[in-house]
């Protein structure tokens, strides 16, 4: 039983930044698992609660946020950790990289120092050994002449290089899980592809699971094992990557696919989902996606559907999930 337990398990996670205000929580009842060495993509528009969920896993939400639900990592309840215990999880067992490579590194310290301090925070090692290790890591993330680069400051590196440094820092203690929050969004398209390939390679080298947050279905298609689609703080659909692309069971997923330039063909399908996400202060009474949904029926405006299994491991929070497979496409 223990052996089959997932690496990370999130159950009924609710994050509310303004509890008691009646506003829709930023994350509202999210549950999903990540297995060892698995790469799970969480997809959604900005404001869908995907980054907030990631920060909740890292315990990095502001103190003012009301959090409920369970987050367990290797069977350990993360929400019960003391400050000290958190420090041995962060950076050592779970690494994290962020969206903004230009501001995520401390501008006044050399990058070598920022790597070394992470290593030495978690392992007893000499300064010399940690610098050797840091140079190795920079080499592994594809930074040329790594030893000379140790004394460089962040401003001397390009955005792509800085993000490689961030990856090196996040992986420095060989964590079992790497959380990457839109790691390529701020970068050039060509560099995006290189970094994605790098992440995929390192996943093998470091035998780590990856939770990749993105809004780009092209990225999902390239690397994901499994996909969690989020909308307005809730999970709309979750399934393995093939089911998501071949037979989406939620009109929102379908809309995301339609609005993504196809990675594998030159033809661009430029349909977009009309409208915007519901105002958290005045959410619609029924399905949160109903106002934008091409398939919405009267009942969708009355009843807010829960996530349920549709076929195989595929889960959807759409009342019409079954019909979608029958060719009833928008």
């Amino acid at each position: 039983m223990k052996a089959d337990a997932p690496l990370l398990s999130i159950r009924d996670l609710v994050v509310d930044f303004a509890p008691g205000s009646g506003r829709l929580p930023a994350v509202d009842g999210v549950s999903f698992d990540i297995g060892a060495r698995e790469l799970v993509c969480v997809v959604g528009e900005s404001g869908s609660g995907k980054s907030v969920s990631a920060l909740a896993v890292m315990g990095l939400l502001p103190e003012t946020a009301a959090v409920s639900g369970a987050i367990s990592f290797e069977g350990r309840d993360l929400r019960a950790l003391t400050r000290r215990q958190w420090r041995s999880v962060r950076g050592q067992q779970i690494g994290m990289i962020f969206q903004e490579p230009m501001t995520s590194l401390n501008p006044v310290f050399p990058i070598g120092r920022q790597l070394v301090e992470t290593l030495r925070a978690h392992e007893r090692m000499s300064l010399r050994a940690s610098r050797d290790r840091a140079a190795d890591l920079l080499d592994q993330v594809g930074i040329p002449s790594p030893r000379q680069r140790l004394d460089d400051y962040p401003h001397q590196l390009s955005g792509g290089m800085r993000q490689r440094v961030m990856i090196a820092i996040a992986l420095s203690c060989s964590p079992r899980l790497l959380i990457a929050d839109e790691p390529t969004t701020a970068l050039d398209v060509t560099i995006q592809g290189q970094l994605l390939d790098l992440l995929n390679d390192l996943r093998e080298t470091f035998a780590t699971a990856i939770l990749l947050i993105t809004h780009n279905m092209g990225v999902v298609a390239e690397v994901a094992d499994r996909v969690v689609v989020m909308y307005s703080g809730r999970i709309a659909e979750q399934a393995d990557v093939f089911s998501i692309f071949d037979a989406p069971r939620h009109p929102y997923t379908e809309g995301l696919l339609a609005s993504t330039p196809d990675l594998f063909s030159t033809e661009r399908r430029l349909t977009t989902i009309v409208g915007s996400m519901p105002n958290p202060a005045a959410p619609p009474p029924g399905c949160l996606f109903a106002p934008r949904c091409p398939l919405a029926l009267d009942m969708c405006a009355r009843e807010r559907p829960e996530l349920r299994s549709v076929v195989g491991g595929q889960q959807s929070a759409c009342l019409r999930a079954e019909q979608m497979a029958m060719g009833d496409k928008p």
């Binding site: 890292m58 990095l60 400050r83 958190w86 420090r87 041995s88 999880v89 962060r90 950076g91 050592q92 690494g95 994290m96 962020f98 903004e100 501001t103 995520s104 590194l105 401390n106 501008p107 006044v108 310290f109 050399p110 301090e117 992470t118 925070a121 978690h122 460089d152 400051y153 401003h155 001397q156 590196l157 390009s158 961030m166 820092i169 996040a170």
Partner: protein, 317 residues
């Protein structure tokens, strides 16, 4: 780096020229006959003549200004009417005392201002923050000479812990030096500590919201490393830039504070010169202190560029 320093020094020359011109011009602000004002009501005609000759007031204006600058370039700021010795000599003699107290006061300012500012920022909007903010505001709103007098009432008159004034050189008796300089240093530090608290607090609040602080936490660093190293290193930058202002307030405050505590530094020298209408001393002191501050500001700017890798280390792609 050297280029930058030279550049800053060159830029200071016109400012220094104007500063010297203002210092020179002060004597022409005296209403009526300067010699009569300086000599006072008891001066005889011969006395007045002597004063005019000493100050060069009997010469035409262009000769006066030419003499002033010729002397200035030789480091000669004139002769004190009160002490009968060259102004430069008096200033240099008294400098170490004022510099010693200034360093002491600056140390109190930095330690106190940084700590209160950081504590306030870490407890943003809690009572500690509000208390520190209030302290900082009260600090910049109190006249420092009044605080000096209140401290004398409390610590000298009632408690009898410290002498009401006087000065003991550090080299003769370090404890005596501390006993005589602590009240002046604290009185001088109060205002600047308030200033520094405000700046530290707002900078720290800004830094704490930066992405690299979140990164530092995500790496599993201890709170000490996150705040004391990652945040503090970035807070120090803007704090260094206000050092010039702090030193300026500190030096002008020393006139009144040294006078009150009877500390024989540059401040008391100036205070006496003002009260006894020793204009060469006032002019010389004004120029000397301002020139020293200009130089210190350049040192601080250079230090700043050296501290900030974004300026110090050029490069990147």
């Amino acid at each position: 780096m050297i280029g930058y320093t030279l550049n800053r020094l060159l830029q200071a020359i016109p400012v220094l020229f104007l500063v010297s011109l203002f210092a020179f011009g002060i004597i022409y602000l005296i209403p009526g006959d300067a010699a009569t004002v300086i000599g006072g009501p008891t001066a005889t005609a011969a006395d007045l003549e002597q004063i005019r000759r000493n100050l060069g007031l009997d010469q035409p204006f262009h000769v006066q200004i030419l003499t002033f600058y010729t002397n200035l370039f030789q480091g000669d700021l004139g002769r004190s009417l009160l002490l009968g010795i060259p102004v430069t000599e008096a200033l240099i003699q008294r400098s170490p005392i004022t510099v010693g107290i200034a360093i002491y006061s600056l140390a109190i300012t930095i330690v106190f201002g940084l700590i209160t500012g950081i504590v306030a920022a870490l407890n943003h909007n809690k009572w500690l923050d509000q208390a520190a903010t209030l302290f900082a505001l009260v600090g910049v709103s109190l006249p420092n000479f009044w605080l000096a007098l209140v401290m004398i009432v409390i610590f000298s008159v009632y408690l009898g812990w410290l002498p009401t004034g006087g000065y003991v050189p550090f080299t003769e008796d370090p404890v005596g030096w501390l006993r005589t300089t602590t009240m002046p240093a604290v009185a001088l530090a109060l205002l600047q500590a308030g200033l520094l608290t405000r700046i530290t607090r707002s900078t720290m609040l800004e830094v704490l919201g930066q992405d690299y602080i979140r990164t530092a936490r995500a790496k599993g660093l201890s709170e000490w490393q996150v705040i004391g190293q990652h945040a503090l290193a970035n807070v120090m930058m803007p704090v260094v830039t206000v050092m010039g202002l702090i030193l300026s307030v500190l030096l002008s405050g020393s006139i009144i504070i040294e006078t009150i505590f009877g500390v024989p530094g540059i401040g008391a020298l100036m205070g006496n010169a003002i009260m006894s209408r020793d204009y060469p001393m006032v002019q010389g002191g004004l120029f000397f202190i301002t020139a020293a501050l200009l130089l210190l500001n350049i040192v601080i700017d250079v230090l700043y560029t050296w501290l900030d890798p974004r300026i110090r280390v050029k490069g990147g792609d």
